[in-house]
Every structure is written in structure tokens, then in C-alpha cells.
Symmetry: C2
Subunit: 172 residues, 2 copies
DNA sequence: ATAGTTAGTAATTGGGCACTAACTTTCTCG
DNA sequence: CGAGAAAGTTAGTGCCCAATTACTAACTAT
């Protein structure tokens, strides 16, 4: 996941993946049918991790409190595992490339995963569509800013954390 | 731009670009010093186009009216030139890959361009930081949804267009 | 006419990469 | 203990692709 997160599907060699996990490169092809399957596995793992992050953060909470806890949890993900953020972005854009290459399955898997994420957040936030969309939108902004490498403190980060708490700031 | 938008930096061959613009592949290397320069040119063009889109949409308007006009303008971009949306995403994620490859220039160019976009929107919206962030956040959500290929009408699109106009829907 | 620039192409090269084949070591369990 | 499966490895193949080289044709200024 870390490798794909940096280089994306095409920019990551199977050799780099093998080296990172500490096995020989051909052995990957015994564990997975091909490179695409490795990427897909990483993508699914990435989504599931994020879903669980939110579920655990909002456990026992409701409404505003759940929103705040989930925002806080994602802020921690950013600093502790930024590769998860990057992997999400990689996963989004790989859909188009896969579809052009005649692979519609990949897009369906990603959309299904993201919809599950959306539904999870929606439920945890009390089924308020506007609030869910706002939360996800801020998440996507965060993803983009992290991906572009904007340092914490840059003015584009102003009033990002929490649609309801303007003026805040992400700590490094 | 269209080619890079689909396949990203690594997933796009210079031959594909040459074919699309109707010249031979080696000739690209006479026009540009290398593949990276072609991508960078496309990325800069992409940002500038978006900045101009917003400037033209908001011309003569202020506050809420400007916000609405800019949202409308971006909705038109989505249906008419989705490749511009994809190119933005490609540009974001290529920063990480470039930085890992020892190229810090690319990231700086992208961040500078995006900051200019942010400042432009900020000014057009009356220098209200919360509003600017909300607008950009919704833009990033739209970019992500388009990139993943969610069809219009899917529930994840609910209440997306305009942070102030929940319940709306993107047409087709 | 001479000299030089502009705008292009065909052919090639060299390196990287996904994937395969065949062989070796290390568990597992009757 | 011993046989078979599980878990690996080394070596190699063929393809793709960025970049280069060397060449041509059409203008343009002197």
C-alpha cells in the first residue's frame, strides 16, 4: 500500500513492492494472479481501514459529537499514516485508467467501497445528507492538500478541520 | 492534457500524446526537453483554465451570487470537459511521485498554481475563509466523484452542488 | 545561387518491467 | 522418519517505452 500510495499503479514496480515486503519479486505472482490484483487488494484494505477508523471513532457518540470525533480521528490518520490518504487518491484516479483499458471491474469495486464508506459516515452522522456531504467534502479537500504536500500552517489549511469549526488548524 | 488525464504521468506514453496531437513521437522531444516538461505544461494550462473559468463566472458579482455562479460554471466544466477534472487529480498525485524521484520543482509549481486558484476564489468570494474552504472542499469532492466515475443520480451526489443549497443534483 | 532555419519523419537503442519456468528449502503430519 | 505439500528462490524472456540519431523537405534571407 505504501508503495502504490507514492507511485500509483503504473509508477510502482512489482520489484519495489517485493523489496518492501521482503520477498522475491516472482513470489508475488504466486500470491497474486497479477499486478492488478495486488493493487486492488491494497485499495480494498485501504477503504476498509478508513471505514473502521470512523466506526471506532464514533462508537457510542451521536450527531455533533460523532462528527467531531470522526474529524479528529481522520486528523490523526493524516499525521500517522499519510500513505493511507495518498492511496485513496491513487485508487480514485486508477479507475479511469482501468476503465480505458477495458477493465470495468476495478471501477465497480472502488465505487462499491466508497459507497460503503459514504453510507457508514451517513449512518454515524444521523442520516443527515447535507452533513454527510459536507464531511466527505472536507475529507476530499484534506486528501488533496496532503497529496499536494502543502505544509501545515499554509493558508490553504485555514478553517479546514471541521466544517463547523472555522479558524482551526491542522497540527503537524 | 486529455491523454495525461486518463492515464496519469506513468500510464501515458509519449507516443499516445504524439498520435493525439498529430505529430511524430520524436518531434515532441524537439518541442519539449522531456516527458516531464510536457506534463508540467499540461498541468499549468489546466490550473490557469480553471482560474479563468471562475474569474469569468464571477465577473461583476459578489458574495452569494458569485458563489452560485462559480458553482454553476464548474458544473458545466464537469459535463463539457471532464478531462480537466481528471487532469487536476493527476496533477495532485504526481507531486508525491516527483518528490520521491528527487524533483521538488514539480511540487512547488503545483502548489503555487493551486494557491493562486485558492486566492482567486478567496477574493471573488469576498475574502471569507470559511466560505472559500467550503467551496474548495466541495470542488474536491466533485473531482473525486467524477474521477471514480459515479453516475449522476447516485446517492453520493446528493446535496453536492453548492454548500448552501442542499438537496440539489448534478444534471446528467 | 548560397547559406541557414524551420518543421518534420523513420529507424534504432537501451533500459525497465511484468510475468514464467524450473529448481530448492522448509514445514507438517501420518 | 520420510513423503508430500507449502514457501520460497534464481534465472530468464519478451515487450514496451523514453530518448537519440540521422535524415529530408520546404522556406527565407543574403
Amino acid at each position: 500500500m505504501a508503495e502504490f500510495a507514492r507511485g500509483g499503479y503504473y509508477g510502482t514496480s512489482t520489484e519495489a513492492i517485493a523489496k518492501r515486503v521482503g520477498v522475491s519479486q516472482p513470489y508475488l505472482f504466486r500470491l497474486f494472479p497479477g499486478k492488478k490484483a495486488i493493487f486492488l487488494a491494497a485499495a480494498q484494505r485501504c477503504i476498509e481501514d478508513t471505514i473502521r477508523t470512523f466506526e471506532e471513532a464514533a462508537e457510542g457518540l451521536e450527531g455533533e459529537a460523532a462528527l467531531h470525533a470522526m474529524g479528529q480521528a481522520y486528523a490523526e490518520v493524516i499525521v500517522e499514516q499519510p500513505e493511507r490518504v495518498l492511496m485513496q487518491m491513487q485508487m480514485y484516479i486508477t479507475v479511469g485508467a482501468a476503465e480505458q483499458a477495458g477493465d470495468s471491474e476495478f471501477g465497480e469495486v472502488v465505487r462499491a467501497g466508497w459507497t460503503r464508506l459514504w453510507d457508514t459516515v451517513h449512518l454515524l452522522l444521523g442520516a443527515d445528507t447535507g452533513r454527510t456531504t459536507g464531511f466527505m467534502a472536507h475529507g476530499m479537500l484534506i486528501n488533496s492538500l496532503v497529496t499536494m504536500g502543502f505544509p501545515p500552517g499554509h493558508r490553504v489549511w485555514e478553517s479546514v478541520n471541521g466544517p463547523t469549526r472555522p479558524g482551526g488548524r491542522i497540527e503537524p
